[in-house]
């Protein structure tokens, strides 16, 4: 087996397993809340465990397989016997522990440092729990009956004629008895591996015990049989004995192998089918009444069938091509060869092309958009774990989870959200007694909302805890010399922004979850990376609201081209308020030399493009050029350029990484290629305003 052929399978395996585990978590936590395990849920959990067991065994990750096997046993019991006295909280903890273990193992496999960690502890706990369950539900005579029925299995009837030597050309019948090493566990899966390996090479394959993978209930019994008598395989094949022996010897954990050739008659290949174990349900099944809400949920889960998973590289390529197409379309339509010609038919066709290109663009952009639901649901687990550990009652409300954002952004949101929620739970929400004393509901509420607003997506984390204490923040900032503006001049917004500084924390002790001052820094960095911003608002005693504003993919924007000297710059149309020619009388120069302009009673800073970009432009007088008033987030300024060229949809291309790494050029959001092939720099208004 070459290692090379494993790689694509490995990716599939990891991807599938991670998805399955996430599904498992969701089901478990949802079921725990309703305190009932619907049969559909149990079946689903069972299926997930079974799939993970099978695929990890096939990939030779035995500890994951063993763990999945024991968890499967547990759920088999619950499914068949539907015991009434189940400690759901403990069960959920156990399953989540197992799922976490598998997750860490998968992460290790992905990194390439798989260490085959010991899962014995968790398996023991699972077995204990199962034994406990059986004890607590004594009316179900599961275990004892099965033991009785194993004994008749010893009597197997099959015919073997005395060994006769056959020649190599005709197909031969072999009987192989495989004994595995003691304590290697999961003999049935190993047996299945052997069968799987030789299946393609042989005909008339029969093996005993024959129910090695099919019937989960009998796994332990089949293990026992294989351990005692060995795994018996009878098959017909063209290969010689030596080859067959070699292949069978490749089995792992093989203690010994006996290989015999049998005479090729039909009588040989008759093994009496074993009796299937019949389970008696002595106790009537008591299934807790499932709430109606579960059914639509299960239906929505099965809707996943109509989804196809696509390699992200293909999507990226598609997006790039669409971007190039927009540029090429502009190059065709604005071709200098066509200047000044009257082409009405051409214009009509060009408009049609433009429409279709626009639609294609929109559709391709929407392909990469993924709903936030998955990320939000992950938060449930965090809330559950933390509220348990800290003894606080927390209720998590999710709103607007169908809001879609670009795939890249989703990855950068999940960490910040986790930190914000942890902070809310750890610092914000008070313990139940304190809440009662304040007259608040005993369970704290954290609401997580997402909605579209203009060209941004807003994600709001709100809690009704004790809010931010301004004095504490200010005093801690003063102690650490972090204040850049004198204390009295800071408004609420700025005071709250102090908590975003790295290393800043007002808590006196470091707990498992927070206190180091790192969380908010992670939030800021991640959000800045996608070009977003963080806003904090809080009222002491009532709660805190943190808003993350994230721009939708700016790949293609509407821009206004302006000319300065012989260079062209683009200003995003969305930030332009108006453009005008100024009168000399409106322009003021203050003592520092800063130029300002009065427009309708308001004073705005003037920004001379030719000065900033060092362009030798002919136009320096204000009355000869044009002013463009632009505003972003409350910061407004007037940009002075030579002339307006026109409005155009441009594809934003990031500045080469090399340049970005050199110095953070503020004021530039990227660049774009114009219709004639020249480059135009895209201005970032908020960056310019802060210069």
């Amino acid at each position: 087996m070459s290692k090379l052929s494993h790689e694509p399978m490995l990716e599939m395996f990891i991807f599938e397993s991670v998805q399955l585990l996430e599904q498992l978590e969701q089901i478990i936590i949802a079921s725990e809340k309703t305190k009932a395990y619907v049969s559909a849920d149990i079946n689903e959990i069972f299926r997930i465990m079974h799939t993970i067991k099978g695929s990890s065994a096939m990939m030779m990750y035995d500890n994951i397989s063993t763990l999945a096997h024991s968890m499967e046993d547990l759920f088999y019991f619950i499914r068949e016997k539907t015991p009434s006295a189940v400690d759901f909280s403990e069960l959920t903890d156990l399953i989540l522990k197992g799922a976490d273990f598998i997750k860490t193992e998968l992460a290790e496999i992905e990194e390439g440092c798989y260490s085959n960690s010991d899962c014995g502890l968790i398996i023991d706990e699972t077995r204990e729990f199962l034994a406990d369950l059986k004890k607590k539900n004594p009316s179900l005579k599961y275990s004892s009956e099965l033991v009785e029925e194993t004994i008749p299995f010893e009597k197997q009837k099959y015919y073997i004629s005395s060994g006769s030597i056959c020649d190599n050309s005709s197909p031969k019948v072999f009987k192989a008895v495989v004994h595995f090493e003691d304590d290697c566990k999961m003999e049935n899966v190993r047996a299945y591996n052997i069968i799987h390996k030789i299946k393609d090479m042989v005909n008339d394959l029969q093996y005993f015990p024959s129910d090695i993978i099919e019937d989960e209930a009998t796994d332990e019994i089949t293990d026992e049989i294989i351990r005692k008598d060995g795994f018996i395989i009878i098959f017909r094949t063209d290969y010689s004995m030596d080859i067959v022996q070699e292949i069978l010897m490749q089995t792992v954990f093989l203690k010994n192998l006996t290989l015999e050739e049998l005479e090729d008659t039909d009588e040989n290949i008759q093994i009496e089918e074993q009796q299937k174990i019949t389970l008696e349900n002595t106790a009537p099944s008591v299934m807790k009444a499932a709430s109606a809400e579960h059914d639509p949920e299960t239906q929505s889960r099965s809707l996943n069938q109509s989804v196809i998973s696509v390699n992200i590289l293909k999507l990226d390529k598609l997006m790039d091509l669409v971007g190039e197409m927009v540029i090429a379309e502009a190059m065709v339509i604005q071709n200098p060869d066509l200047q000044g010609m009257k082409l009405s038919n051409f214009q009509k066709a060009a408009r049609q092309l433009h429409k279709i290109t626009g639609e294609l663009q929109d559709t391709v952009m929407s392909i990469r958009m993924v709903p936030l639901a998955a990320t939000f649901h992950k938060m449930h687990r965090i809330v559950r774990d933390m509220s348990k550990k800290l003894g606080k009652e927390i209720h998590l409300e999710l709103m607007g989870e169908e809001t879609e954002v670009d795939k890249n952004i989703i990855e950068h949101i999940s960490d910040p959200l986790m930190h914000l929620i942890r902070n809310s739970i750890d610092h914000g929400i008070e313990p139940p007694e304190a809440r009662k004393a304040r007259g608040k509901a005993q369970a704290g509420t954290i609401s997580l909302e997402a909605r579209n607003s203009g060209s941004d997506v807003l994600i709001i984390v709100k809690d009704d805890g004790k809010g931010l204490n301004k004095e504490k923040i200010l005093s801690r900032a003063k102690d650490n010399n972090l204040l850049t503006i004198p204390e009295d001049e800071m408004n609420n917004n700025e005071i709250f922004k102090l908590i975003l500084l790295p290393g800043f924390s007002t808590s006196d002790s470091i707990s498992e979850y927070s206190g180091r001052g790192v969380g908010m820094d992670v939030v800021t960095k991640n959000i800045e990376q996608v070009g977003g911003s963080v806003f904090i608002d809080s009222t002491e005693g009532n709660g805190t609201t943190i808003t993350l504003k994230i721009p939708l993919t700016l790949a293609i924007i509407d821009g206004m081209n302006v000319r300065v000297g012989s260079f062209c710059y683009t200003i995003p149309t969305i930030s332009i308020w108006e453009s005008f020619r100024a009168k000399e009388s409106n322009i003021i120069t203050d003592p520092d030399g800063n130029e300002m302009i009065m427009v309708r009673g308001q004073c705005y800073r003037i920004f001379r493009l030719h000065k900033h970009f060092d362009v030798k432009s002919g136009i320096t007088e204000f009355t000869k050029g044009i002013f463009i008033m632009a505003e972003v987030e409350g910061k407004a300024l007037c940009i002075f350029a030579d002339e307006l060229i026109g409005q155009q949809q441009v594809v934003v291309k990031a500045l080469p990484g090399y340049i970005k790494n050199m110095k953070k050029t503020r004021g530039l959001a990227g660049c774009t290629i114009l219709g004639d092939g020249s480059i135009s720099l895209i201005l970032d208004i908020s960056g310019l305003a802060s210069l």
């Binding site: 070459s2 090379l4 190039e324 540029i327 260079f567 900033h612 970009f613 060092d614 362009v615 291309k653 500045l655 080469p656 990484g657 090399y658 340049i659 790494n661 050199m662 110095k663 050029t665 503020r666 004021g667 530039l668 660049c671 290629i673 092939g677 020249s678 480059i679 135009s680 720099l681």
Partner: protein, 163 residues
């Protein structure tokens, strides 16, 4: 087994590029750069300036839809600036996924310089030597062989010092 065969083949491929240098001229000096970094050579075209960058970074150009930064090697080596004419070329190099164009006076030829003919640069600790990986002897001439990594990455340490 197949793995090692493939690896050997790849190594052989690289070998056809090893020891080959693209030589170009800057005023009176001749420099060489390893050919495996060179993607293409194009004539000089309009460079769009980007503000607030070091002087030797002239700006960015549009190369068939790809935006790449260009560096003037004369200014990098602190020589006097010379206007661009029709012999001026841009050598596009690609190091570890970073593409950058080098503006040079003129491009000469591709030479094979065997290892034996390359000596280590003299240990003069002034500025320019950080970029020289070795000195190659070709006939009666001497070519200064550039280290592309240092050319690109030294910027960062400089910037850090500035801050």
């Amino acid at each position: 087994m197949a793995e090692t065969a493939v690896q050997e083949f790849l190594e052989q491929e690289e070998d056809t590029q090893k020891g080959r240098f693209l030589t170009f001229a800057l005023s009176s000096e001749s420099y060489g750069i390893e050919i495996r970094y060179v993607t293409e050579i194009i004539g000089i075209q309009t460079v769009t300036e980007v503000p607030e960058l070091p002087e030797y970074i002239r700006g960015i150009i549009n190369l068939r839809g790809k935006i790449i930064p260009v560096m003037d090697v004369r200014l990098r080596f602190k020589k006097p600036f010379r206007d661009y004419n029709d012999r001026t070329c841009v050598i596009v190099i690609d190091i570890r996924e970073v593409s950058i164009g080098l503006i040079v006076d003129s491009v000469s030829e591709v030479l094979s310089i065997p290892e034996a003919e390359i000596v280590a640069p003299p240990d003069v600790s002034k500025g320019g030597n950080r970029y020289i990986k070795g000195i190659g002897k070709v006939g009666s001439e001497v070519k200064l062989l550039l280290d592309c990594d240092k050319l690109l990455n030294d910027e960062e340490t400089e910037n850090l010092l500035k801050i």
